[in-house]
């Protein structure tokens, strides 16, 4: 341990010296007998191991186990062991019109909210693209909704939508409580209400990705286009849009996946009501799995159907993205 002592004499602990020299040089400077040696590979493994264990326990095991359960009639509250029923859960779901209603609601919701927040987000990005006084602060403020918890957002908007004292109806010009729209109570409006809140909360996300895409477009392309006598609309259509498209598609992909999983906003705003007007697949899934019936087998099958749908849609986007890249 002569090396350690001599290092300490100079006032620097040996560990600090080693840290400055990096791992490889440590093996040359420290005698192997003095300390336990760990190879780089071993250190890498030690760092990764906890994550792997966590992933297997929390994600991979439940994923495989629920696939197994989806072919059984298991319920977590019964003492009976799972009994294999084959495809019965799947045929039950796919032949039940109530489930198809849930799918239709989810699809409508996804289409409306994703397309609206894409348009709003892209428009915001175009507006905030050029720097002006206060554009930094405005960009930050626009991003705030994204940072709120969906449950908090739902509670806020329940107050805003409230027909007797909410602020939205007076702003829209409805002052008479008897004739003003009941956003969350009217089956024709409730889904739109959720769409509005989702657009409010997540348009900034689309904007953020679009801003990144827009700022990556080199200025000289617009100079070349000005020389080529392209109108503003032609420049937008032939330069801005195609250049932003890859990032826009990624934003749309993320939002579509989220929309198909929509649960927290619905649960916070309408609980799936009125009636089943806003009952998305996720809400129905939650009810099946955790409320009253505890139909673990059936809900696992439903979850797997949602998973397959999301994977299929993601694949469409990813293919479009690859086509853009390859040209």
């Amino acid at each position: 341990m002569r090396y350690v002592n001599s290092s300490n004499v100079k006032g620097r602990p040996v560990s600090q010296v080693n840290a400055q020299r990096g791992l490889s040089s440590r093996q040359e400077t420290v005698p192997p007998a003095g300390r336990r040696q760990l190879s780089d590979m071993r250190i890498v493994q030690l760092f990764i191991l906890p994550t792997i264990i966590l992933l297997i326990l929390m994600n991979i095991f439940p994923l495989i186990y629920s696939l197994f359960l989806s072919f059984t009639n298991y319920s977590v509250i019964s003492s009976d062991p799972p009994v294999w029923v084959g495809l019965e859960n799947y045929t039950h779901i796919l032949s039940d019109p109530d489930f198809w209603h849930n799918f239709a609601t989810t699809g409508t919701y996804a289409l409306l909210s994703v397309s609206l927040q894409t348009i709003v987000g892209f428009a915001l990005a175009m507006l905030l693209r050029s720097k002006f006084t206060g554009s930094g602060i405005i960009t930050t403020l626009v991003l705030v909704p994204m940072m709120l918890s969906p449950i908090v957002v739902a509670v806020f908007w329940r107050l805003i939508f409230n027909p007797s004292f909410g602020i939205l109806n007076p702003i829209l010009g409805f002052t008479d409580i008897n004739t003003s729209p009941e956003w969350l109570g009217d089956p024709a409006l409730a889904l739109w209400a959720i769409v509005i809140v989702d657009v409010w909360q997540w348009s900034p996300f689309v904007m953020l990705l679009c801003l990144a895409g827009l700022s990556a477009i080199p200025e000289y392309l617009y100079e070349a286009a000005a020389i080529d006598r392209a109108s503003a609309w032609f420049q937008f259509r032939r330069i801005t849009l195609p250049q932003v498209m890859p990032l826009l598609l990624i934003a749309v992909l993320f939002r579509t996946i989220e929309a198909f999983k929509q649960f927290d906003l619905v649960q916070g705003l309408t609980f799936g009501g009125p009636g089943d007007a806003t009952e998305t697949v996720s809400v129905e899934l939650y009810r099946l799995a955790f409320q009253g019936q505890f139909e673990t087998g059936l809900s696992s099958a439903l979850a797997y159907i949602v998973l397959v749908v999301i994977i299929a849609i993601s694949n469409l986007y990813i293919r479009a993205l690859n086509r853009l890249r390859e040209g």
Binding site: E223, A230, R238, P242, G327
Partner: protein, 360 residues
């Protein structure tokens, strides 16, 4: 095709001049080269002509039409950018078709025009590739095709060969010159490479420190530089510039040799008001004639064989090095003393205080 006229055009960034007031008339069909070291204002001048940069004062006329405050798209000019500025997400074909489609031209005509210009530049085989998959030379050809396809009144080129490899540059230089001759289009070409400028320009505009130093044909700027900057900047190596004193019968070089001067120059030097007869003598390397019994003395410092000729580096008595061309087979031992004369027709004189050439 068009002539371009700049009247007192200037560009200021804050209080700093990027281009000091500049007057220049470019004739129809002329190939003008703006030449100067980086930061001299040549690119700014070009961008002002194009409209990509606004002037802070002055007027720009295209064919007599005042375009000073018109948008680039209203000037009927094409611009070739240094780094090509191709639309990276489009194929070469779509890049070339872009200006035509922007003008709303019919599909058949676009196809025909793109085909024509692609044939002219011999790039038909790469039309379906994207710019990222093309070599630098081909990218520049696509950029040229995009500029040519619209048949604009004038071409503006900002160091179009600057981003190319040296070997491509020679080829593309010849191609651009040939295109210019075929199209007879007014062209303003920016470069910092004086060899390129000499090879291509009908006239060269030499700029330095935001000011035009000289406008002239390649021969003029080479043989009769207007000032010391041009004398140094043009030529490779530049003009030899030696401090000397005017005396009866000639000019005395440092170290004592007296170079005889023709009568015409003697009168010009006497009438030019030089301070204590101090003058800068300038001569091109090819004015040096090494021979026994020459009037001037030097020692051989180094010699480089350039294939066709030898470049001699001669050390004058005060240690200054001058460059002289000599025959390919001339044998001069390093350090040996040589004598040489200067071709009297190729001597030029500059005022050391104003740095301006003294007219003969």
């Amino acid at each position: 095709m068009a002539n371009i006229e700049l009247r007192g055009v200037e560009k200021k960034f804050g209080d700093v001049f990027a281009v000091k007031p500049l007057d220049l008339t470019i004739k129809d069909g002329e190939f003008i080269v703006l030449l100067g070291p980086s930061g001299c204002g040549k690119t700014t001048t070009l961008r002002m002509i194009s409209g990509l940069e606004a002037v802070t004062d002055g007027q720009i006329l295209l064919d007599g039409r005042d375009v000073t405050w018109l948008h680039p798209s209203e000037r009927d000019i094409a611009f070739v950018f240094q780094f090509f500025a191709l639309y990276s997400h489009m194929s070469a074909r779509d890049n070339i078709a872009f200006p035509l489609q922007a003008a709303g031209m019919a599909r058949d005509e676009v196809k025909q025009r793109v085909g024509q210009v692609a044939a002219l530049l011999r790039i038909e085989h790469i039309l379906d590739r994207k710019p990222g998959a093309l070599s630098g030379g081909d990218q520049q050809r696509v950029a040229l095709a995009r500029a040519l396809v619209r048949r604009p009144a004038a071409f503006l080129m900002d160091e179009p060969l600057g981003a190319l490899d040296a070997e491509f540059r020679e080829t593309m230089r010849a191609e651009i010159k040939k295109l210019h001759l075929a199209q007879h289009a007014t062209t303003v070409y920016v470069t910092h490479d004086q060899i390129e400028a000499m090879a291509m320009g009908d006239r060269i505009v030499i700029m330095s420190a935001a000011v035009v130093q000289q406008v002239g044909t390649p021969t003029e700027v080479y043989h009769n530089p207007a000032n010391l900057f041009v004398a140094r900047f043009i030529g490779s190596p530049g003009m030899n510039l030696v401090k000397a004193k005017v005396e009866a019968g000639g000019v005395r070089l440092p170290g004592g040799s007296l170079a005889p001067v023709s009568d015409r120059w003697r009168h010009a030097l006497e009438g030019s008001g030089l301070k204590d007869g101090s003058v800068v003598l300038g001569f091109r390397p090819e004015a040096v004639q090494v021979r026994d019994g020459g009037a001037l003395r030097a020692a051989v410092y180094a010699d480089d064989l350039h294939g066709g000729y030898t470049m001699l580096h001669l050390e004058l008595a005060d240690g200054e090095i001058i460059h002289g061309r000599a025959a390919r087979d001339a044998l001069n031992a390093l350090g040996s003393a040589v004598r040489f004369d200067l071709d009297p027709d190729m001597m030029r004189f500059f005022n050391p205080e104003t740095e301006m050439a003294i007219p003969s």
